[in-house]
């Protein structure tokens, strides 16, 4: 072997890349011209699908091309409805390819959900598999979560399955707003409260409280856990029905836990804030002094948000004035 090995320099690499880009641009121009001329003459046919498909695979975010495809599918549905399913499955394949290239492309996801509506025989299991896969790659892909909600509705999947899905996701990684949010949407529908007061059935509420406590103790710095707990404890159907003593005891239990955590993490703003909020809900008037002390502590521990804490402090002062003294 007499040829010597040489490594390309950066300049040479850039030159090669520039040539490749120029080639791509030329091909793109030709394709777009053809597409628009066909549309102008009303030729919404297989060829237009082919060319738009080629361009979209390279660049999935050209909304116009997706819409042209939609026009074509509608035309097919109106003229030859028995062939539509075939085209629908081609759209599913194309959107899946595009999603691989860019999992956050608005157009691809929307087109997919639009197309589902047009077919008569959708394999929802495959759709769920796609969702699972995408969420595994990126747990916070909201496009995928939205799409999941759509297919759950369309396929009339039992909500318990979805709750299990949310549980699986949380088991793997509890630092995920999207999973907790999904859970918060499902739970009130599956386990509604028997009384009018609380959000959830009592037993389920207790289970969820326990679950979220695990998250909070494992990592008190994780915001998503705290927000879920706030939703669990502080979302009320009516205002200020602390006559429900059952719920009051739940709040007191949570307060005790939080104080325990505070002993371990005295300077964690989330813990202090939660103690504040709990004290407010339990007895805003009676605990006022302690709450205000905590608020001032918060301002020291988390000075970047002192505006918020000042506002919180003033709200509490006001509450004292509005509230009538219970007998």
């Amino acid at each position: 072997m007499h040829g010597r090995l040489k490594v390309r320099t950066t300049a040479e690499q850039q030159e090669i890349k520039a040539k490749e880009r120029a080639k791509k641009l030329a091909v793109y121009k030709v394709a777009m011209d053809r597409i628009f001329s066909k549309r102008k003459s009303g030729e919404l046919d297989d060829e237009i699908l082919k060319i738009t498909g080629q361009v979209l695979t390279e660049n999935p975010d050209i909304s116009t091309l997706w819409n042209i495809r939609k026009e074509t599918i509608v035309k097919i549905k109106n003229t030859t409805p028995d062939l539509v399913d075939n085209y629908v499955s081609k759209e599913l394949t194309l959107t899946e390819q595009c999603i691989r290239v860019n999992p956050k492309s608005y157009n691809s996801w929307f087109h997919r959900s639009w197309v589902l509506d047009k077919g008569s025989n959708i394999d929802f299991q495959a759709e769920f598999l796609l969702c699972d896969k995408c969420l595994e790659l990126d747990e916070r892909n909201f496009h995928c979560w939205d799409y999941r909600r759509i297919i759950v509705q369309m396929s009339k999947t039992p909500l318990e399955n979805e709750l299990q899905f949310s549980t699986n996701k949380i088991t793997k990684n509890f630092s995920n707003y999207s999973s907790w949010h999904y859970r918060s949407e499902l739970l009130p529908r599956i386990y509604p409260s028997s009384s009018g007061d609380t959000l959830l059935d009592d037993q389920k509420l207790a289970e969820e409280c326990n679950l979220i406590q695990n998250a909070i103790f494992t990592d008190p710095n994780d915001q998503s856990a705290w927000f879920y707990q706030r939703w669990l404890l502080f979302t009320k159907k009516e205002t200020n029905s602390t006559e429900n003593s059952g719920f009051l005891s739940v709040l007191n239990d949570e307060l005790e836990s939080c104080q325990q955590l505070r002993d371990l993490e005295p300077n964690n703003k989330w813990v202090i804030l939660q103690v504040c909020e709990l004290l407010r809900r339990i007895d805003s008037l009676g605990n006022k002094k302690e709450i205000l002390q905590l608020v001032s502590q918060l301002t020291k521990v988390d000075p970047l948000r002192r505006g918020y804490y000042a506002y919180l402090g003033s709200k509490i002062e006001e509450e004292k004035q509005k509230k009538t003294i219970p007998e």
Binding site: K6, V7, K19, N173, F174, T218
Partner: protein
């Protein structure tokens, strides 16, 4: 292979164990001419991996191997290499199943199967196993890669990782002898969150310590008072007691009473980056080496190999062949083939069995068929501990506690189908006795990872070639061009 060995060369490497092989490849990488020999007929020395049959043959061979003496070219000052030193020794094999197949399907057997709720299981026989010999891969020294460890750096930089497949350790456990059961060790956030047998407060304390250790380099001031002490003090100060202390000490920090703080923290960091794999395999030529030739200035000038003189600037030799090495300690090992997993669903599990009376813990590494260690339906279990007497004695208690080896099949314990016990010697190479251009490379040790060995390899390399890059990154193949080929074409187009 091996007829035209170049001489003189830059580096002769005798033995194909891990350390010497890493140095050999690092030397080739910077353009040195390396001659790499091994007297055995397999690669890897005490690190090697074998199929069923070749394992038995190899261990049998070592017992019978007789050194063929070629004293003819030996000078008085030369160092004679002891080829029959057995680093791997005391091999004892035992079968727990029958030779012959059970020909009839007796009803009682089928009922028994059904009552366990298992689908039909192959009843393994000796001949069945031996027929599947190639589907077994037994490591003499199974190891793990810590994802933040030294070995991973080496693999990535050298590009070797392109040729390997990796499997995650899916479960880390400790064995609770008093309860006779496995406890999963939580060492990641998800583990701690999901754990059902520690309290909320314990979760917080454990996570706090884990996070501190992982972040150690960034916040040294938090550790000032503990740095020179031992790990125990650190744990006491952070209120780590009871169950979580067991987990941390036994399985995560892999420490004992006297472990110093620095070492423990390093281990915690590694385990917490929890993404490890089982890896093995090296490469070589096949050649005997009789002597190291010493010149008049006390430096080595070469070796005598199969009666041929080979000259080199540096010589590496694996420590079991080092004529000046002494046996300092040993490793007791066992390899078992079992019929089901100790855990429920793990593909690679590490289980630590801490010892009550100050002895060393026993580490168990269980591999399922998905790691290519054995055919589907079976498991390969490796046991490792410090040698006290022999492997059979050292591991008897743990094996009896965790596995079933009797005739009566226990419902909850995995049954042993075949076992092999052996010891591996660990050597000490006395400082300053070898010529300064001869390096002795350590064989496998007790620890689950390679990192010390990588560091040792790097040190040897840097001692031989100061200032040179140790396994620098390989350029992207796409950017490598053969001159007088496409170069011209690139420049032609305007």
């Amino acid at each position: 292979m091996g007829e035209d060995i170049p001489s003189p060369c830059d580096l002769i490497v005798v033995g194909t164990g891990l350390v010497e092989s890493i140095v050999a490849s690092a030397a080739s990488r910077i353009g040195k001419q390396v001659v790499h020999l091994d007297h055995r007929d397999f690669y890897g020395s005490s690190w090697a991996t074998f199929s069923f049959n070749s394992l038995k043959n190899t261990l049998g061979l070592i017992d019978e191997f007789k050194e063929h003496t070629t004293q003819s070219q030996k000078e008085a000052s030369d160092l004679n290499i002891s080829l029959n030193s057995k680093a791997v020794c005391n091999a004892i094999e035992k079968w727990f199943i029958l030779d012959e197949c059970k020909t009839e399907n007796d009803d009682s057997h089928q009922e028994c199967e059904a009552s366990r709720g298992k689908t039909s299981r192959i009843t393994w026989t000796k001949s069945e196993l031996l027929k599947n010999s190639r589907k077994f891969n037994f490591d003499l020294s199974p190891k793990l890669l810590y994802s933040r460890g030294e070995m991973v750096e080496v693999l990535i930089n050298s590009g070797i990782c392109r040729y390997a497949e990796f499997k995650n350790v899916s479960g880390i456990y400790t064995f609770d002898a008093s309860e006779g059961c496995l406890l999963p060790v939580p060492c990641s956030r998800a583990d701690v969150f999901n754990s059902k047998d520690i309290s909320m407060v314990e979760k917080r304390l454990l996570m706090k310590v884990l996070a501190m250790c992982v972040d150690y380099e960034n916040k040294p001031e938090e550790f000032k008072e503990y740095e020179s002490g031992n790990f125990d003090n650190f744990l006491n100060a952070h209120k780590i007691q009871g169950k979580i202390r067991k987990y941390l000490v036994d399985s995560v920090a892999m420490a004992n009473d006297s472990t110093n703080f620095q070492d423990a923290v390093k281990n915690v960091q590694k385990i917490c980056a929890k993404c490890s794999a089982v890896f093995g395999g090296v490469y070589c030529l096949k050649r005997n080496t009789e002597n190291i030739i010493i010149g008049s200035d006390g430096q080595a000038i070469g070796i005598v190999s199969d009666n041929q003189k080979l000259m080199a600037r540096f010589i590496l030799i694996e420590d079991c062949l080092n004529p000046l090495a002494i046996i300092k300690s040993g490793i007791s090992r066992a390899i078992l083939i079992t019929d089901r997993s100790i855990t429920n669903n793990d593909q690679v599990a590490i289980i630590t069995v801490p010892s009550a009376n100050g002895k060393d813990p026993v580490r168990i590494l269980e591999l399922s068929a998905s790691t290519m260690a054995c055919p589907p339906g079976l498991y390969v279990v490796h046991l490792i501990t410090r040698q006290v007497t022999t492997a059979v004695e050292d591991l008897r208690e743990v094996i009896d506690a965790v596995f079933c080896s009797g005739e009566k099949e226990a419902l909850d314990k995995p049954n042993i189908i075949w076992s092999l016990h052996f010891n591996i010697n660990e050597y000490d190479s006395p400082e300053g006795k070898l010529p300064s251009n001869v390096y002795s490379c350590p064989g496998p040790d007790l620890f689950l990872d390679f990192d010390d060995h990588v560091i040792k390899a790097r040190n040897i390399f840097q001692s031989m070639y100061p200032g040179e890059d140790f396994l620098p990154k390989v350029p992207d193949p796409e950017d490598v061009v053969l001159e007088d080929s496409s170069e011209d074409i690139v420049q032609e187009n305007p």
